[in-house]
C-alpha cells in the first residue's frame, strides 16, 4: 500500500476507510460488484433463514475482498503450470516474500504508474542510485517478480528492469498511481519520446484516500515504420489508429484469422490453465492477509511517531 503518499485520517476511521478504499478501487477495474449486507435494525426479530442469508452475504463479501487482492498482490500467485507447482515450495516462498516486505515497503502500483526506485548500487559514487519512470511491465511469480521502468533522459530512451524483492532496493515510491488500458506498454518504445518522458524530480501526486485507481485512457500515436513489433496484430487498446501507416498487404495480413485467433476467446481450458483457481487463491490470500495487515499497522505507527507533517493535496 502506498501509505506514505496518502492523506491519513484519524486512526479511529482508518479501518473503515481501508475497506472502502479497497472495494471502491477494485470495483472500477475488475467489474466485480460487491454485495453489501444491510445492517439489520432489529437483530432480535430476524429469522434463521435471514440470518443464514446474511451470513452467506458476509462470507461472499469476505471472499470477494480476498480475491480482489489479486490485483495488488499479483506476484503471490504461483506459476499456474501444474508441473512446476509444489505446495511446500510455494509456502516457503511466500514466507520469504513477507519477510522481505517487513523490511521494505513495496507499495501498490500498476502498469502505467510512475514509480521511482532507490537502490544500493556498488558502481555508483554514493553507493546509491535512483531511477524514475513509467512502469511498462509487471511480471513474474513469487520472488522472481520484476517490473520494468521506462523514461526519456537527455533525449535517450532508458529502461531498467528491477526485481521486486531485490534486497538492494531501499525504497519504492509511487509518484503517480494510475492504470493504462493495456497490461504491457512496450509500444512506448515505438511511440514519440514525449509519451514516455517524465521529469526525474517529479513530486509525488496525492490522491484522496478511498478514491479508485484512475485509468488513464490515453491513446498513444506511433512513430512511422519500422517498428520493433507488428503492433497492428497485437490488438492493443492504447494505440491510436495505425491503418494509414501500413501498406495494403500488411493491413490485409493483420486481419487474418491466424493472427486474431477468434477461437481462443472462449477456450475454457486455456483460460483455466493460465489462472490459479479460486480455491487456491483464497487459501493464499487468507494466509498473507493477516501478515500484511500487521505490517501496514506497524508501518503507520512508526511513521506517525517519526514526523507528522500534513502533506499538501495536489491534482
Amino acid at each position: 500500500m502506498a501509505m506514505s503518499v496518502r492523506v491519513r485520517l484519524g486512526s479511529q476511521f482508518r479501518n473503515i476507510m481501508r475497506v472502502c478504499f479497497h472495494e471502491n478501487r477494485h470495483m472500477s477495474t475488475a467489474e466485480i460488484v460487491v454485495e453489501k449486507s444491510e445492517n439489520p435494525k432489529e437483530p432480535e426479530r430476524i429469522s434463521l433463514e435471514e440470518q443464514q442469508r446474511l451470513n452467506d452475504i458476509a462470507k461472499n463479501e469476505r471472499m470477494e475482498k480476498l480475491l480482489n487482492m489479486r490485483f495488488a498482490y499479483q506476484e503471490f500467485l504461483p506459476d499456474p503450470n501444474p508441473k512446476n507447482r509444489n505446495t511446500l515450495k510455494e509456502r516457503l516462498e511466500r514466507r520469504d516474500m513477507l519477510a522481505r516486505r517487513s523490511n521494505v515497503e513495496i507499495p501498490e502500483f500498476y502498469v502505467g504508474s510512475l514509480v521511482a526506485v532507490m537502490h544500493s548500487d556498488p558502481h555508483a559514487p554514493g553507493k546509491n542510485n535512483r531511477f524514475m519512470g513509467i512502469c511498462i511491465q509487471k511480471i513474474g511469480a513469487g520472488l522472481r517478480a520484476s517490473f520494468i521502468l521506462r523514461n526519456f533522459i537527455d533525449g535517450e530512451g532508458v529502461e531498467i528492469n528491477f526485481d521486486m524483492y531485490d534486497p538492494t532496493i531501499q525504497r519504492i515510491d509511487v509518484i503517480r498511481l494510475e492504470k493504462r488500458l493495456d497490461e504491457e506498454l512496450f509500444y512506448l518504445r515505438d511511440a514519440p519520446p514525449e509519451y514516455s518522458t517524465f521529469p526525474v524530480d517529479m513530486e509525488p501526486e496525492y490522491q484522496p484516500e478511498g478514491s479508485a485507481v484512475p485509468v488513464n485512457e490515453i491513446k498513444v500515436p506511433l512513430k512511422p515504420l519500422p517498428w520493433l513489433v507488428k503492433w497492428e496484430r497485437m490488438g492493443m487498446k492504447g494505440i491510436r489508429d495505425v491503418t494509414s501507416m501500413l501498406t495494403e498487404k500488411r493491413l490485409r495480413m493483420s486481419k487474418l484469422k491466424q493472427f486474431n485467433k477468434p477461437w481462443e476467446k472462449y477456450d475454457l481450458l486455456k483460460m483455466y490453465s493460465e489462472t490459479i483457481p479460486i480455491e487456491d487463491q483464497v487459501e493464499i490470500f487468507s494466509e498473507i492477509q493477516e501478515k500484511l495487515h500487521e505490517l501496514e499497522q506497524h508501518r503507520y505507527k512508526m511513521k506517525r511517531s517519526r514526523n507528522f507533517v500534513k502533506p499538501t493535496k495536489m491534482g
Partner: protein, 145 residues
C-alpha cells in the same frame, strides 16, 4: 525514411531484430561531440562495426569495437545497448558509441546521453597501468544512470 528501409519494406522483409546484438555490420550511434562523429551522424551515415575486441564477436556493454566511419577506421567503446540487460542495468533505445583513440582517451570532450553506472567499474577493470587508460571516458560523461 531512407532508401534501404524503403527497399526492405517493399520486399516484405522483417526488420525486427530479435536479440539486437552488436555484431559486425551493426550501425551504431555516436554520442560524443567529436567532429567526425557529429558529421557522420548528420550525414545519415552512422558508423558500422567491423570488429569486436572480444572472443565472442558480440559486443556487450563496455566492449571495444572497431568501426568504419566516414571512410576511416576508428575505435570506440559501447556505452549503451539496445539489447536486454541484466537486472538493474539500463537498456537504451539506441546502440551508443563513444569514439576513442588508441591510448583509450576519447576523441570528443563531452557525452550528451546518459551512460550506465556499471561502466565505471567496467572501465576501471579494463584499465591497466601500462595499457590504455579508459577512465577518461567516465570523466567526460554528462550524466550517469
Amino acid at each position: 525514411m531512407n532508401l534501404p528501409m524503403l527497399c526492405m519494406q517493399s520486399r516484405g522483409l522483417s526488420t525486427s531484430s530479435a536479440l539486437s546484438q552488436v555484431i559486425r555490420l551493426t550501425r551504431l550511434r555516436v554520442v560524443d561531440n567529436s567532429e567526425i562523429g557529429k558529421q557522420a551522424m548528420a550525414e545519415g551515415k552512422p558508423p558500422y562495426v567491423f570488429h569486436v575486441y572480444n572472443k565472442m564477436g558480440v559486443g556487450y556493454i563496455g566492449d571495444r569495437v572497431m568501426v568504419a566511419i566516414k571512410g576511416e577506421k576508428k575505435k570506440g567503446i559501447l556505452v549503451g545497448l539496445k539489447q536486454n540487460q541484466k537486472k538493474k542495468v539500463p537498456k537504451f533505445d539506441t546502440n551508443n558509441l563513444v569514439l576513442i583513440e588508441d591510448n583509450g582517451s576519447p576523441i570528443g570532450t563531452r557525452i550528451h546521453v546518459p551512460i550506465p553506472h556499471i561502466l565505471r567499474t567496467l572501465m576501471k577493470e579494463k584499465t591497466h597501468s601500462k595499457g590504455a587508460d579508459y577512465t577518461k571516458l567516465i570523466a567526460i560523461a554528462s550524466r550517469f544512470i
